[in-house]
């Protein structure tokens, strides 16, 4: 890990001042992702601003049906909050399945939303777009220098390489990594907004708009502006919601596919559906076809299956990850059935 300056503000205002200092900066909360990426030399902030000591950044507030979550709230606190479990089981379940007890004790909501993709090409220093090229040379950012590897001009590391964990949707472009925040899908499904405070003041955006598909090398997948700090997330409870995650290991592991749903019910029938997938596209992926498929129906094995099938119709898997289409179909089906309490797979 390279040397950096360190500040530990106790107010949001101070944090924003510290983040806005000269050079690159990074907000440090739980550190479970940032510190590791700094050790990998992938992220190199000149200044690290530790935000976990800011009291106003932490906490869960439930006022009527409005839920406000501080960005530095630890995942363990999300898991243990009784009212949140009642109102937003999709959020609780997603938080519960992140990492391990130690990680949930450290990691925060904001850190999870802003974590960098768990993608082995990115972690190996090739960025998010499948490798940067100069003519026939693939350049890898290494220890501050660029080292050439001779490749075909059309080479794309992910498309040509081991893409078992990569995206299966939105795969026409160069960004083929799979977005790996577990908390983004449930929050997007619940229509949550995020508050960002920066040098130019405060703004509120839908959580979905925290993410974009990078178009050029070096561009981040996060839409946070320089010096901006994610301070809280807010949503209105109401819809039935659930998260289902397919993971290989039962212990500490990443989701292969994660699906969150939020269903507004009209009697037994779904009047409005939100179906959001994680780990299948470079951004949290809204499965609109699945939403249409389930809307107006009673959730049953058959309708959930049909929604799962609809969800994958636009999938364009890569050479190795066709299996994730099956996982997506299953995850959508199971998330929908979980939302109505029919966990047929647990038998």
């Amino acid at each position: 890990m390279r040397a950096f300056e360190y500040a530990s503000p106790t107010s949001i205002a101070d944090a924003v001042k510290a983040l806005g200092g000269s050079g690159s900066s990074a907000a440090l909360a739980g550190g479970t992702d940032l510190i590791s990426r700094m050790k990998d030399d992938i992220v190199r902030p000149a200044r690290v601003v530790y935000v976990k000591g800011i009291p106003e950044l932490s906490g869960i507030r439930v006022e009527g049906s409005v839920v406000t979550l501080g960005a530095a709230t630890r995942l363990v606190d999300l898991v243990q909050h009784a009212a949140l479990a009642e109102l937003a089981p999709a959020v609780r379940q997603a938080a519960l399945e992140v990492g391990s007890p130690q990680i949930r004790n450290m990691a925060t909501l904001g850190g999870n939303l802003c974590q960098r993709p768990c993608d082995w090409y990115f972690r190996n220093g090739f960025g998010l777009l499948g490798g940067r090229k100069q003519g026939r040379n693939l350049v890898r950012e290494l220890e501050g220098e660029y080292a050439p590897i001779d490749v075909e001009e059309t080479a794309h590391l992910v498309r040509d390489g081991d893409n078992r964990y990569a995206a299966i949707f939105m795969t026409d472009g160069d960004a083929l990594y799979a977005h790996s925040s577990s908390l983004a899908p449930p929050l997007i499904a619940l229509g949550a907004t995020a508050t960002l405070v920066g040098p130019d003041g405060e703004r509120t955006v839908p959580v979905a708009e925290l993410y974009r598909i990078p178009q050029s090398a070096g561009e981040s997948e996060l839409t946070l502006r320089p010096g901006e700090l994610l301070t809280q997330v807010r949503f209105t409870a109401g819809p039935r919601n659930a998260t289902y995650e397919v993971r290989q290991k039962q212990s500490h592991d990443w989701p292969l596919v994660l699906c969150s749903v939020a269903l507004t019910m009209d009697g037994d029938r779904v009047s409005k559906a939100s179906v959001v997938l994680g780990s299948v596209a470079p951004i949290p992926y809204r499965a609109e076809a699945a939403e249409r498929a389930i809307t107006g129906h009673v959730v049953s094995t058959e309708t959930a299956e049909a929604a799962g099938q609809a969800a994958v119709e636009g999938a364009k898997p890569l050479s190795m990850n066709g299996y994730k289409v099956t996982l997506t179909r299953t995850a959508v089906k199971r998330a929908l059935l979980a939302a109505v309490g029919q966990r047929y797979w647990e038998g």
Partner: protein, 208 residues
């Protein structure tokens, strides 16, 4: 916003922070008058934003109930600080990326990975490593149940287990599994570890 996080509330006060942390490029331990002078100097700077540390910095960590003064850099992890600078070598460095649990320590009552925690951020917080545990309870249960082989993951398991039992003195096997899911053993001692955790719980209940 009301805080749910005890650490958020019990963070170091501004003054404690300054006393404990030293300042940019200060390598020497600060004397008390120097700290007072700095307090005033820094007070003026607060208007500009929080103080910024870089380079060698003297901090004080509460390790196993003792205040330990140590020179670190902002980038020094808690794990490397404990192991390399304070000779607290119970916690081990294995994956160094927050995946395996060998570096587990208890911070304000919660098990965390010391390899992805900065030492500077731990000032004012209670750090417990397994060296401070009663050897007759959790370590003894690991010993009795042969819950270790090469033993390099064992400190992490013992620590995660102690933290689990502190919160849940009567865990089910499922609770134990979930509580220890952040730790990896390569020799394959899990069967003994699960038995040891349940056995330690029994021993604790007897003692209580």
């Amino acid at each position: 916003m009301p805080s749910q996080d005890p650490r958020g509330r019990s963070g170091p006060s501004r003054r404690d922070f300054l006393r404990g942390s030293g300042v940019a490029a200060a390598t020497a331990v600060l004397t008390a008058p120097a700290v007072d002078a700095l307090d005033e100097a820094r007070a003026a700077e607060l208007a500009q934003g929080p103080p910024v540390l870089s380079g060698d910095t003297t901090i004080t960590l509460q390790v196993n109930g003792q205040a330990r003064e140590v020179v670190v850099e902002p980038r020094s992890t808690l794990l490397d600080t404990l192991r390399n600078r304070l000779d607290v070598t119970g916690p081990k460095r294995v994956c160094d990326r927050g995946s395996c649990g060998a570096c587990t320590v208890i911070l304000d009552g919660d098990p965390i990975y010391a390899c992805t925690t900065l030492a500077v951020s731990c000032q004012g917080h209670a750090i417990e490593t397994l060296e401070s545990f009663d050897p007759e309870i959790v370590p003894a249960a690991f010993h009795r149940n042969d819950a270790l082989m090469c033993g390099y993951c064992t400190p992490g398991f013992v620590t995660a287990c102690k933290a689990l039992l502190d919160k849940n003195p009567n865990p089910t096997l499922e609770d134990v599994r979930r509580g220890l899911d952040g730790n990896i053993c390569r020799c394959g001692t899990y069967v003994g570890v699960l038995q040891a955790a349940l056995d330690a719980a029994k021993a604790l209940r007897k003692e209580a």
